[in-house]
């Protein structure tokens, strides 16, 4: 039961936040070319940097949950605080460039309603993935702290590589999409 509440604390806020983002970004897609071209430039740039392993500073908000929000609070309030801040993934540290592509991709959907539904599912996927990551991190931290830290850093490099490859797939796809908007027939 405790675990279900913990998972829900991450997934529900993420679904709400991404549902709203879906609507907002879909409204921006009424400006011709804005979303596809921005997404194409973004995916190409960050996809190359991550895949080629070049050093870069990710676009992230370095804000961290203040300790006074956590210290001395009941476990349920702590879980809610972590879930609300980490679940949507927008305001805390995120080393993967893929996160900022998501609002742009959601905006490509055909209607406001579909963009909202896809946004909600994206939020569930992100919050769900995040909570599993946090739970898995806790387990590895129980081992040996120094070893776990090294293991986590190594995994981050691998994960960034995979994220870069995903961004390049999107870059190729967005290039084709942009050409189709220009009237090129495939």
């Amino acid at each position: 039961m405790k675990l279900v509440f913990y998972i829900a604390a991450y997934v529900l806020p993420a679904a709400i936040v991404w549902g709203i983002l879906g609507v907002v970004f879909r409204l921006l897609n009424t400006i011709p070319w804005l979303i596809p071209l921005t997404a194409l430039a973004y995916t190409l740039w960050f996809g190359l940097l991550e895949t080629l392993g070049l050093p870069f500073r990710p676009l992230e908000i370095g804000w961290q949950v203040p300790s006074r929000w956590i210290d001395g609070r009941p476990a349920m309030v702590q879980a809610l605080t972590w879930g609300t801040t980490l679940g949507p993934g927008l305001v805390t540290r995120n080393p993967y460039a893929g996160i900022w592509l998501l609002p742009l991709l959601i905006a490509l959907n055909q209607s406001l309603l579909i963009a909202m539904i896809v946004g909600i599912i994206v939020g569930i996927a992100h919050g769900g993935g995040r909570v599993l990551g946090v739970l898995s991190n806790r387990r590895s931290m129980d081992m040996d702290e120094e070893y776990a830290h090294l293991q986590i850093l190594g995994a981050q490099f691998r994960w960034q590589y995979i994220d870069g490859l995903a961004l390049l797939v999107a870059a190729g796809a967005l290039a084709a999409y942009t050409l189709s908007l220009l009237g090129v027939h495939f």
């Binding site: 991404w18 996809g47 190359l48 895949t51 080629l52 392993g53 980490l86 993934g89 540290r93 995120n94 080393p95 993967y96 893929g98 996160i99 592509l101 998501l102 991709l105 959601i106 490509l108 959907n109 055909q110 579909i114 896809v118 599912i121 994206v122 996927a125 992100h126 919050g127 769900g128 993935g129 995040r130 599993l132 990551g133 946090v134 898995s136 991190n137 986590i152 850093l153 995994a155 981050q156 691998r158 994960w159 960034q160 590589y161 995979i162 994220d163 490859l165 995903a166 390049l168 797939v169 999107a170 870059a171 190729g172 796809a173 967005l174 290039a175 084709a176 999409y177 189709s180 495939f186």
Partner: protein, 59 residues
């Protein structure tokens, strides 16, 4: 062993070109079949799960 191979400079460059081309070709096919937006929706959901789960790798 796969990791050591995949992180070589030449392999990274090869993958960059191949993946870009594969993305372009699949999208061209999907646009032709009018399935591009649904495919991108599925892709964005998968990417969200990947980016979220990646936090397990973040200190």
């Amino acid at each position: 062993m796969i990791e050591a191979w995949a992180t070589q400079r030449s392999v990274r460059l090869f993958l960059t070109g191949t993946i870009l081309a594969a993305g372009f070709a699949s999208a061209a096919l999907l646009i032709q079949q009018r399935n591009f937006t649904i495919a991108m929706a599925i892709f964005s959901i998968s990417l969200a799960a990947l980016v979220g789960a990646g936090k397990l790798a973040s200190p």
